[in-house]
Symmetry: C2
Subunit: 293 residues, 2 copies
């Protein structure tokens, strides 16, 4: 798969995901109007759609049909979207800007933002009711809830570490929960749509997912340090300002970059037994450390 071909693949899946998300959201003009408008605002402002992309690419690698993958892809993105809305709240990270726009509690109000996050999580799980029933549905539900639960655990751990001395092992544990768990869930959901929960290829996909999850977070820390607010769409240096430990603050910029590259190599190695159907996953791994926002 050529780079331009991959770019077209990413673009097509982003459009596909956005269309699927629009179908899933309540019409913005339905009662209660303010809640529904805020739901659309929270979800349809853009976003890289990396998690839905992972659902589709993992499903593609094992031969699942795209139609089966839309539900889980939306589910994972809606969990991600809810977590952003709640993380931005004043009692949490207190962020005013997200994807270059006012955060939900700034554009609406705090009560609405709390309810928007709650509703997005409900909508996320509702998407799995559309998957074909049977053993698969139970496994999908299990994978999504485990990812969502670990994400909250990670967020709680993150809050507890603010202002403390943190070593690299703790930081890795933190991010394995906070961002890694949902990335693993995305890959597993995609893989599950192709076959049985016992398929041994799911283990290889999971090794891939762990590695890119870590690479993703390291790259986020690097970008937080090196890119400006306009490029990021959120406040540059936000983590540093909150005195949160990052891979850059613990390793320095050069070693952080090296570590991210190592994780990408580890991800590619995990896919060594896969044919060209896994090329999108391979490109995603490289994209993660090449992106600038």
């Amino acid at each position: 798969m050529e780079t331009t071909e991959f770019q077209a693949y990413v673009h097509a899946l982003r459009e596909r995901t956005d269309a699927a998300l629009r179908r899933v959201l309540p019409p913005a003009d339905a009662v209660p109007v303010r809640l529904h408008a805020a739901l659309s605002y929270a979800v349809l402002q853009g976003g890289k759609r990396i998690r839905p992309l992972l659902v589709h690419a993992a499903g593609h690698a094992l031969g699942a049909s795209p139609e089966l993958l839309d539900g889980p892809a939306c589910a994972v993105e809606l969990i991600h979207a809810y977590s952003l809305v709640h993380d931005d709240l004043p009692a949490m990270d207190d962020d005013d800007l997200r994807r270059g726009q006012p955060t939900v509690h700034r554009a609406y109000d705090e009560a609405t933002a709390i309810l928007v996050g709650d509703a997005l999580q409900t909508l996320a799980f509702a998407q799995l009711a559309r998957a074909e029933a049977g053993e698969r549905q139970s496994a999908l539900l299990h994978a999504l809830s485990e990812g969502a639960m670990d994400m909250v655990r990670g967020q709680a751990l993150d809050l507890s570490l603010v202002g403390t001395q943190t070593d690299i092992a703790t930081l890795q544990t933190l991010h394995a929960l906070k961002t890694g768990a949902l990335i693993r869930a995305a890959v597993r959901l995609g893989g599950l749509c192709a076959g049985s929960p016992e398929d041994p290829r799911l283990d290889a996909l999971d090794s891939y997912a762990r590695a890119i999850g870590l690479a993703f977070q390291i790259q986020d820390d690097i970008l937080d340090e090196t890119e400006d607010t306009a490029t990021l769409g959120k406040r540059q240096g936000a983590d540093r300002a909150l005195d949160k430990p990052t891979f850059v603050s613990l390793l320095g910029l050069d070693r952080a970059r090296e570590r991210a590259r190592q994780e990408v190599e580890r991800a590619l190695t995990a896919l060594s037994g896969f044919d060209s159907a896994a090329d999108p996953l391979r490109h995603i791994a490289r994209y993660i450390v090449e992106r600038n926002h």
Copy 2:
């Protein structure tokens, strides 16, 4: 079924539900400790467990086994529990007291309370992964997500009505969403555990659920007006203090009581085609307007 027999039934199911909830919650001493302790605090402080009781009683009415009902019963209670934690937040109802104890954000902190609510919703949906797979699981997931979504819609509508003139029809719509939807979900989940989503008896159960949902809310408004803070376990007159419309403020105490009784009659009529297996549901309907907290 005699009243004493019903009381023993309620007691046994409350114990059963509490035991099931304890199995479902992460150990309070697992990392991150603060989050897990707060999860237990939010769920295991007591509570009437009316929704799990409804799941079991509805399942019992149609012949479902109690083992099948534990998952959905926990799921509905966990959705209810999450909604209380978030509703009590300063940006929402700003309540300090719940079931006679400090609310989660008072006992812990606001960020923890937000995460506790989020985690409880995740845990709720995770409970459905344990049900036997197939058509039933999809229907259960659909019923729970619909109830949870309408509940959030009701909460948003409620916030939008504070300080406005509200008529009785609007108030009814509000509560059909805010508290009614989850009560209907509880009854439907129980019914679904007994058979097919096409079973016509589910419609009769739904009429029952709509009526007791309304009676429940009217009785809540009556108690908010007539009982003291110690009996309620929350601040007496809280709704009035917030200038929220209630059935008592719109109808007066006598007509509100009369209306609650009418809804109980409607609920009992809906069950007229059911045998004695529906006796717990009949007792619950009467209990709802006889309770004092």
